[in-house]
């Protein structure tokens, strides 16, 4: 094994070691031991990733197997690494955000009895995510895919005595199974047609797959690659929370805030985006699949943004914003602008992690009150949280020169340049989405940090139910008591905020040129000749500063600006207006408040349908057929038979001898009559 291979191996294994130590020996090494070990593990992974990044920059990519897991027939399953610019970028993002979240957790979870368990989980998550992004084959990809899903499940239900958390993690698990079903079908089709699960070998056969037609339904031939890509994308829809498989993400906010930042904003939910970018050689060959991706992404981007407007839970606002931004990335994928999608993935990872952690900081400051209606004017009390939140929000809405601007504007331009079916609709969605994003972001920002101080009014009743859980430490205090003031959080909380705020500001400006137009992803991402979006973008690009200056007069900027102004007007100048509007558009508000009835639909149609089917099968199939005929019936037959054998097994010797003689006689007769 070469030096570099060892380094590659070190990246996922260091967090794994941390997770194992903190998980198995948590009691022995104590709280300090747990966070020291896991943070060291992740720090090692981050530093190793930096070295690998340098190595890749020098042109040394790697694609090889480290360990053969099993060979069955022609199919070989390996553990292997594919280290190229796309991978190393993901490694950096994952390990950096994870490191920040680890540090932040020290402060956030300080009072929690499950401290060591939490550190073990997030390190395990880091390991799984790194295995996912570093994989060079579908099996390992699937392993990482499921492993991050598992850790996500464990973390959403981290406070397992809360019924809502258990409901939420179950929901996340089930919804992801739906996505994984599609994903697995895609992988299975690939294995069946290519006889291999290695990326390289599969990509080499992409053209054959495009030429193959299969009949899913009789008389309706589909291109194999379209079916494969849609299957894979359904997996991505589950993991990256695209409509209609998005329903689990808002509920996953039941978990502790650090994991909302790490898993449900910055890393795991982007696994789907990463996977589609990685599979660009396949997706590029199917316009149908790309159109599908485009439309789904556009719907998610716009309609999930609307929901952000009416949420009052600070984390849920950020969660819906995440959904909407994931929609943006997906749209970029559909427009064949993979590098733009990944670029947005990276910038989003920074500013969304920042926003989540800032929200967490606010929550700590407010003594675990998450309702933004009870906040206001926090600017004075939590200056660092305030300024970093402002930076995050500005980055999110796409303020020129900040990171979010570069990535989001590129997405909008790419969609404009795309000529696929559905691109017009998508362009409309992403454009309106800019306005919506600005509006809900600044609605939250103004409600939390500006205006009248609304905290300190006794405890309201929304969380009354939670008080039953005496075991959960964090539930002991909700909100500020009258007269109590919020306070800035300890340094372990705000240092990560600052550390994330810096890239949120500058990373876009610094990296747009090499990443989008400088051929950084050459060799990682394949774009077909027919898809011009990136080419047109490159023609119009004249440097990062020029792009920002030019945008000051463009439609998206004006939309964002008007969103901010409108939010300012509604929530700071005339707070009566939103309430009046709410009155006026009652049905629309109800629709949004019920999240377009997705949950209701799932409950009635899928859950209810499954229950109906289940009870039907139980009554007819189980009680009548299985219990009645098979179980009781066969038990009767067996009993009857057993009684019969007892009749023969009399204990009388002559009878035994007689049966032996009969046996011989029957055999003899049979053989002699046979011929």
């Amino acid at each position: 094994m070469t030096e570099m291979q060892k380094l590659y191996l070190l990246v996922p294994l260091a967090p794994l070691a941390g997770a194992v130590v903190a998980g198995l020996f948590g009691k022995t090494i104590g709280r300090a031991g747990a966070h020291t070990f896991t943070i060291m593990g992740v720090a090692v992974a981050f530093i190793a990733s930096l070295f690998i990044f340098q190595d890749v920059q020098a042109g040394h990519t790697y694609n090889g197997d480290i360990y053969t897991w099993l060979e069955s027939g022609g199919l070989k399953l390996h553990v292997g690494f594919l280290i190229d610019p796309l991978t190393v970028m993901m490694m950096l993002v994952v390990s950096f955000v994870s490191l920040m979240v680890h540090v932040y957790t020290i402060g956030y979870m300080a009072d929690d009895p499950g401290y060591q368990r939490f550190f073990s989980y997030i390190s395990l998550f880091t390991f799984s995510m790194l295995m996912l992004v570093m994989s060079n084959n579908f099996v390992q990809l699937f392993f990482g895919w499921e492993a991050v899903g598992l850790v996500s499940y464990l973390l959403i239900g981290f406070w397992y005595t809360r019924p809502t958390a258990i409901y939420a993690n179950l929901k996340a698990f089930l919804v992801n199974r739906v996505g994984d079903f599609g994903f697995l079908l895609g992988i299975a089709l690939i294995a069946a047609y290519c006889g291999s699960l290695d990326y390289k070998e599969v990509f080499a056969q992409a053209n054959n797959m495009a030429a193959t037609q299969i009949e899913l339904f009789k008389g309706q031939p589909w291109s194999l690659i379209t079916v494969v890509c849609i299957g894979l994308f359904i997996g991505a829809m589950g993991k990256s929370a695209q409509v209609p498989l998005h329903v689990w993400l808002p509920d996953s906010m039941e978990g502790p805030t650090p994991i909302s930042a790490l898993i449900h904003a910055a890393t795991m939910v982007t696994a789907g985006i990463f996977m589609v970018a990685r599979m660009s050689p396949l997706f590029e060959l199917s316009d149908a699949a790309l159109s599908f991706v485009l439309v789904i992404g556009a719907i998610t981007a716009l309609f999930m943004g609307f929901l952000g407007i009416i949420q009052n839970d600070i984390k849920r606002v950020v969660a819906y914003s995440t959904l909407s931004q994931l929609g943006y990335m997906t749209v970029a994928l559909g427009a064949s602008a993979y590098s733009v999608a990944v670029f947005h993935l990276m910038t989003h990872a920074f500013f969304k992690a920042l926003l989540f952690l800032a929200a967490g900081s606010v929550i700590i400051g407010m003594h675990h009150d998450q309702d933004i209606r009870n906040m206001g004017g926090l600017r004075k009390y939590m200056p660092i949280t305030w300024i970093t939140s402002l930076i995050g929000s500005l980055a999110l809405i796409g303020t020129p020169f900040l990171s979010g601007f570069y990535s989001k504007d590129s997405i909008i331009e790419a969609v404009k340049a795309s000529h696929l079916a559905g691109s017009g609709f998508a362009y409309f969605c992403v454009l309106i989405g800019v306005f919506i994003t600005a509006f809900y972001s600044f609605r939250m920002y103004f409600l939390v940090f500006h205006g009248k101080e609304r905290f300190g009014h006794a405890h309201h009743d929304e969380h009354a139910g939670d008080h039953d859980d005496e075991e959960v430490a964090v539930d002991h205090h909700h909100g500020l008591a009258p007269g109590q003031k919020p306070h800035e959080t300890p340094w372990v909380v705000w240092v990560p905020l600052v550390a994330l705020a810096i890239p949120s500001v500058v990373i876009g400006y610094m990296t747009i040129e090499p990443m989008l137009f400088g051929g950084y992803f050459k060799g990682s991402i394949f774009i077909s000749e027919h898809h011009h979006a990136m080419k047109e973008l490159a023609e119009e690009f004249h440097g990062a500063s020029a792009m920002a200056l030019h945008s000051l007069t463009s439609v998206p900027f004006l939309l964002a600006l008007s969103g901010v102004v409108l939010a300012w007007f509604f929530y700071l100048v005339k707070p009566a207006i939103p309430a009046a509007i709410k009155e006026k558009v009652g049905p629309l508000y109800t629709l949004l408040d019920n999240k377009y009835y997705f949950d209701r639909f799932n409950e009635v149609f899928f859950a209810g349908g499954a229950r109906g089917l289940g009870s039907g099968l139980w009554k007819v199939g189980d009680q009548a057929v299985i219990d009645g005929v098979l179980v009781n019936g066969s038990a009767k037959v067996v009993g009857w038979f057993a009684a019969l054998t007892r009749l023969f097994q009399t204990g009388h010797l002559y009878q035994y001898a007689f049966s032996m003689i009969i046996g011989v006689f029957v055999l003899l007769t049979f053989w002699f009559n046979r011929g």
Partner: protein, 488 residues
């Protein structure tokens, strides 16, 4: 008449064991009231025989005593397994016999003679040698079953076993005489040659074959020659049941291979069908009847019938439409089945012995109630054995069933495999019932489990072997195939 000194080397182990039996007789004369030497001498005899068998197993096929006797790898391997099975059986039985006053020198002598009988059966190259070994084994077993002469139940069982055994021996001998009439020889390889040349009276031969197979079926205890099995297993003292249900099955398997495969391979088309009928009947009857049992010894007896049926399935698939390419696979799967059955059988009856004590036979199913509360470790072991017998992955019983079934399917008898699986599923019920009793019912018996350390350790190892062989069946599987390959 000139007498040629035979080559004793291939039969050295048998000669040694016979010598040890004489030594035991002599020691008994002088030992007086001292106890315990029988156990030690028997174990030494087994250990010595093992060493001799192991060192003389050179991979060559050698015959001696005017071709009456053969020494090959197949035989040596089975003999080694027999020694181990008998030794394990002795350790399990020691306490049981001591508290009942049955650990007389006669017992150990009879065990040695039975072992010798099995060795002779395994190494026979002549129909009469087989018969000799079989009778030596059987007579010893009859006497062993009757050893507790104050027990009317044991005496009755021995009586039935003896009379029916005599009948079976008669059938076997009659069959042999027919084969002799048809081929003019009783030496196994000569019979095979005569058949290969095809100048024999087919009618007489098939007539003889039916009788041979019947005698063999009695020894294996398959339907319709199974009637003795439940009564003997039930009636005999548990230690004797353990003996009857373990090592002799290996000898019977060897006898089947020697008689049918080595000797009458040309008639495979005929005897395969006979065995198939008996196998299907055994699997069906064994599994169904076991459900109705309340006595665990009887239950295990019926379970044994079904297992032997399953083992026979492996023997029925060696030759398909005259094509012999499946033979090795089929016979080695049957051999694997026989070996794993002996392992499981030892463990299950060992468990019954473990729970028995002075004046108490733990032979009712209720006696296993709540075992988990009395001893979680042994409950877990018993559960593993039961699951293995039921054929649950990944215990040895699963791989045994699996390898037989794949041989059956490879030979094209899919219906047979489906039928076997179906009845195995029914059979799973009574194995799982034992598990249920152990884990979910309240104990009726609260006496502490007292057993000597060697028995606890050995029984634990036995139980774990069921799991270990299930996790890594490959070594045993290839040993079976390898030794068979050398003697086919």
């Amino acid at each position: 008449m000139n007498f040629v000194m035979p080559d004793f080397y291939p039969a050295a182990a048998e000669i040694f064991v016979a010598g040890m039996s004489l030594l035991l007789l002599v020691i008994e004369l002088f030992a007086g009231k001292k106890k315990g030497f029988g156990f030690v001498v028997t174990l030494i005899a087994l250990a010595g025989a093992a060493v001799i068998t192991y060192t003389t197993a050179d991979g060559q096929v050698s015959v001696t005593f005017s071709n009456l006797y053969i020494s090959d790898l197949f035989g040596s391997f089975l003999k080694l397994l027999v020694y181990v099975a008998v030794a394990v059986m002795l350790v399990y039985s020691r306490d049981y016999l001591r508290v009942r006053g049955l650990d007389k020198t006669e017992y150990y002598l009879l065990v040695i003679y039975a072992t010798l009988g099995m060795m002779v059966m395994i190494s026979a190259n002549h129909f009469l040698t087989i018969y000799l070994g079989l009778e030596l084994l059987s007579l010893s077993l009859y006497t062993l079953v009757a050893l507790d002469r104050d027990s009317s139940r044991a005496t009755e069982a021995a009586m039935k076993y003896f009379v029916l055994g005599a009948l079976a021996s008669g059938l076997l001998l009659y069959g042999m005489s027919m084969v002799y009439g048809a081929t003019g020889s009783l030496e196994i390889s000569a019979v095979a040659q005569a058949l290969a040349h095809g100048v024999v009276n087919k009618t007489v031969l098939v007539f003889g074959l039916v009788f041979l197979v019947s005698g063999l079926a009695f020894k294996l205890g398959v339907v319709p020659f199974h009637m003795w099995v439940p009564d003997v297993y039930h009636g005999a003292p548990t230690a004797m049941t353990l003996f009857v249900a373990s090592a002799p099955k290996l000898a019977a398997f060897a006898m089947a291979i020697r008689l049918l495969v080595n000797g009458l391979f040309e008639l495979a088309g005929d005897w395969q069908q006979m065995l198939m009928i008996m196998a299907v009947l055994s699997i069906a009857l064994g599994n169904l009847a076991a459900i109705a049992q309340t006595n665990i010894k009887r239950m295990l007896a019926y379970s044994g019938i079904s297992h032997m049926g399953f083992m026979l399935l492996g023997l029925t698939t060696g030759v398909v439409a005259g094509d012999r390419q499946f033979a090795l696979n089929a016979y080695s799967s049957a051999m694997f089945y026989a070996v794993s059955y002996v392992v499981m059988s030892l463990a299950s009856f060992g468990m019954v012995l473990l729970l028995s004590r002075a004046g108490f036979e733990a032979e009712k199913l209720e006696d296993f109630k709540g075992l988990n509360q009395r001893s979680p470790w042994f409950a877990a072991l018993m559960m593993m054995v039961m699951l293995s017998m039921a054929g649950v992955p990944f215990f040895v019983g699963f791989f045994a069933k699996f390898s037989v079934l794949q041989a059956v399917v490879a030979a094209g008898y899919v219906w047979l495999a489906v039928l076997a699986v179906f009845f195995s599923l029914i059979g799973a019920f009574y194995y799982l019932r034992v598990v249920k009793l152990m884990y979910f019912d309240k104990p009726t018996d609260h006496a502490p489990i007292t057993a000597s350390l060697d028995m606890r350790v050995l029984l634990s190892a036995n139980g774990l072997a069921v799991a270990a062989l299930g996790l890594a069946p490959q070594a045993l599987m290839s040993l079976c195939a390898f030794t068979l390959l050398r003697s086919l």
